[in-house]
Symmetry: C2
Subunit: 481 residues, 2 copies
């Protein structure tokens, strides 16, 4: 904010403090002042603008009454809202925490809202849930609800139903005390961030990396540093651990979101050696590891090292169904204990009926058969998308062949993905622009395309729509080959 640009006219009929007020409102509206920005003290502002201190005080009071700034005793005055963004009724203006406006972007909400019949969505990461075992799920649901009202309709422990914890502990080869049930990976990340991050803590994470993880860590006050796992340079990681002394390291080692990369066994072992050497705990998000096509990824960091150094997040949204909101965390028992305090305070517990239904399908083999089917269907869909992209974009777009997971990470040669997205939305197809996965500017030419949630015929139509949007955007950008 350049304070020299504020022109005040002492001869005007409008009082100086109201002129100042209008100038500052305009600066907030146009984004020159952002929510969370601190304003100069009244004394300093008076000096900067050669006005009386009373004029400055009156201007700030008026802005506060309009809900645009908020003063905190001993801390100063901060921009609290952007008038056009938050058209709340009077009493609510300026009441929203500046942390929201600083850290929570609209991307996740937009992604959730993209699941509409008329839109072909390559944006949300969804499995081929048309193959979900509906009848088997209904059968166990009915049986559990009829026979166990207390466990399905009553309160449950924050850390999850004991039976599901035990099922998962058996599958993972750990004790049930090391398992906690959550309402999906996003909740796992949110609980972990709230439990472990104190403002100004450093987190080293995938760069690009999962949008939800970026926001969870930042919303809890973390300062992020990136490690590019497509390069997988262990020296760079060591430099970062030395330089930043991070509170924790967040990694998504198999079919990473968004790049679809998988870390080799050697790299995984190297990461563990570094984490040991610098006593840095790892949060390992293995949402996609079960969704390989031909070859299973190398063992997880958790399998290699255990809960002493690794906290392990597993999604069931990607392998079961996103709409059921289920996932789990495996970690040191003392950390599970603390996470359960945050979970209890956040939403008490995860619904019992879906926990027990999942436990039954894990036990009777239905889940595993469904997972096998998903692998086949996803591979088929990946190949259809790759072939369609190849045909539609003989040049102008490049990507790696998918080996598993849900995504193709592609690079545009002549356009930015934001320009393409604007046209794609009009054409009825959506994807995630690359920049959403970068916490510093980056990824402007990248896009993440989810193939798994769309049937082959619709994938072909979606790619055609994308091609039309591409031609449109290219025409508008004035690019010619």
């Amino acid at each position: 904010m350049d304070w020299n640009l504020i022109n005040l006219d002492a001869d005007s009929a409008t009082p100086l403090y109201l002129q100042l007020c209008s100038s500052l409102t305009e600066a907030i509206k146009t984004g020159k002042l952002e929510p969370g920005d601190q304003l100069p003290s009244e004394r300093k502002l008076a000096g900067l603008l050669a006005i009386s201190r009373t004029t400055a005080v009156n201007a700030y009071e008026e802005l506060e009454a309009r809900g645009l700034v908020r003063s905190y005793v001993g801390r100063g005055t901060f921009i609290s809202a952007r008038p056009d963004r938050l058209g709340a009724q009077f009493a609510w203006r300026g009441k929203v925490s500046p942390l929201i406006q600083r850290h929570l972007g609209p991307d996740i909400r937009a992604l959730l809202a993209s699941n509409k019949p008329q839109m072909i969505s390559f944006s949300a990461g969804q499995p081929a849930y048309e193959y979900f075992p509906v009848e088997r799920f209904l059968a166990v649901t009915e049986s559990r609800l009829r026979s166990q009202p207390r466990d399905t309709l009553g309160f449950l422990p924050a850390e999850g139903h004991p039976y599901l914890r035990e099922c998962i502990a058996t599958r993972e080869g750990v004790r049930h005390e090391e398992v906690m049930i959550v309402a999906g990976t996003q909740q796992a990340l949110d609980l972990i961030a709230r439990c472990l991050i104190y403002p100004q803590d450093r987190v080293v994470m995938d760069w690009p990396g999962y949008l939800g993880a970026i926001q969870s860590f930042q919303f809890s006050g973390a300062v992020l540093s990136g490690w590019d796992m497509t390069l997988a340079d262990l020296d760079e990681l060591e430099d970062s651990l030395i330089k930043h002394r991070p509170k924790l390291l967040y990694l998504n080692p198999s079919f990473q979101n968004p790049t679809a990369c998988t870390l080799s066994l050697e790299t995984r072992q190297g990461i563990i050696d570094l984490a040991r050497k610098y006593r840095t705990p790892i949060v390992e998000d293995e949402a996609y590891r079960d969704l390989y096509f031909a070859t299973e990824p190398p063992p997880s960091l958790f399998e290699l090292e255990g809960s002493g150094l690794v906290l392990y997040i597993r999604s069931l949204s990607k392998t079961f169904a996103p709409g059921l909101r289920l996932g789990y965390i495996v970690a040191d028992e003392a950390i599970i204990d603390q996470l359960a305090l945050v979970k209890a305070q956040g939403d008490l517990f995860t619904p019992g009926l879906s926990q027990l239904a999942l436990a039954d399908l894990l036990t009777n083999g239905v889940y595993d058969n469904y997972l096998k089917l998903l692998r086949l269907k996803h591979q088929e869909r990946a190949r259809v998308m790759e072939a369609s992209l190849q045909e539609a974009f003989p040049e102008g777009l490049s990507w790696q062949k998918s080996q598993g997971g849900l995504y193709i990470w592609a690079q545009l040669h002549h356009l930015e993905s934001g320009e393409l997205l604007a046209e794609a939305t009009k054409a009825g197809v959506s994807f995630m622009p690359g920049s959403s996965f970068f916490f510093e500017p980056g990824g402007k030419r990248a896009l993440r395309l989810c193939y798994s949630g769309t049937e082959p015929e619709a994938i072909r139509s979606g790619v055609e729509r994308l091609k039309r949007a591409y031609n449109q955007a290219l025409g508008m950008s004035g690019f010619s080959l």
Copy 2:
């Protein structure tokens, strides 16, 4: 912490910094230093104890290596963990945010875990869900899952399924944009606190008040001030609004948790006048208002004033079933918009299947019939508990007759409720001690008994167990009449 109590022996074979380290570890273990407490700077400590600055630096470094303190550049050194409370493996020690240890007590988790077959629980607030319409619920669940895989298994908007939002908007007489679906009241409180509270904001709330609300506000950094709604003194409320200029006012006006009080229409109107006068938004938690026995409570603050001043939380845990984790918020559209950002970041969205099943039962009258039945059953249970208490405690315990809601708030005359609880747990009956609902010391002789979740015969047995525990505790306390 009295630093004069630290004795260091310069002649000992143990280096001074290790002696200091042991003394500080002991102080942390015994609670003289609490997680979150700031330690003096190394320079200041050296002065206090007449040691060299190097000794102080070495001691702090050793404590940090042991995971007991954590230093932040520019802010100083803080106690980060209590060694006996957090027996984590090495890499995790001292990693938990001090906010957890400062603000999240074990009471909610203990309450959730009290739902066990062998225990008669008067602690958790549960409706008579034995009467839950299981067959009707299964029928709509089956039908929705079979016919709408996208809406039940796929992603949904963070603010809730449009159909359920519309149903609720119609019932509440608002627009669907003003409605947001959440996973229960506790999540509503957590989202509101994260969305609106900035550290050091003041909140004026019921005192005693709902434990989950206390923790949610404090965990987001709020400073709480209490208003005793059993006295309902509007002058006291006005003084508090003038003195504290709170960010918001949190109230639970009907069959309040824990006191079971209901505010009169005059008091409600007086509160609204004050909120208008001091431009203080109200968060109104009406979890219990539909659960009256004979007479409906006065209109809610929301009905009286609307979303311009009131954010309205409705629980479905208390009127439907706690295990399904459903509730909703009605608020100014701009605030719903911000809350949805926090919800998306917290757990993406609430499961679609339970949202749609609820919508169907709201529409076809099953929910309302069930609610009518709950009112009758709860009244019957309240009367059974009151009669049993009357018989078991002809003196020594007093309470008000219940008019609705789920609780009896009782006062012990000769014992503290903590003493009674210790014996009650052994005898196989649980309740919530009054002190859990006070954010400053208070309520030591009070207890909250939930009657609604227990069948009449078990209520009688539970009160008998309580009486045995009472006699036991009274004997131990040495009290004689």
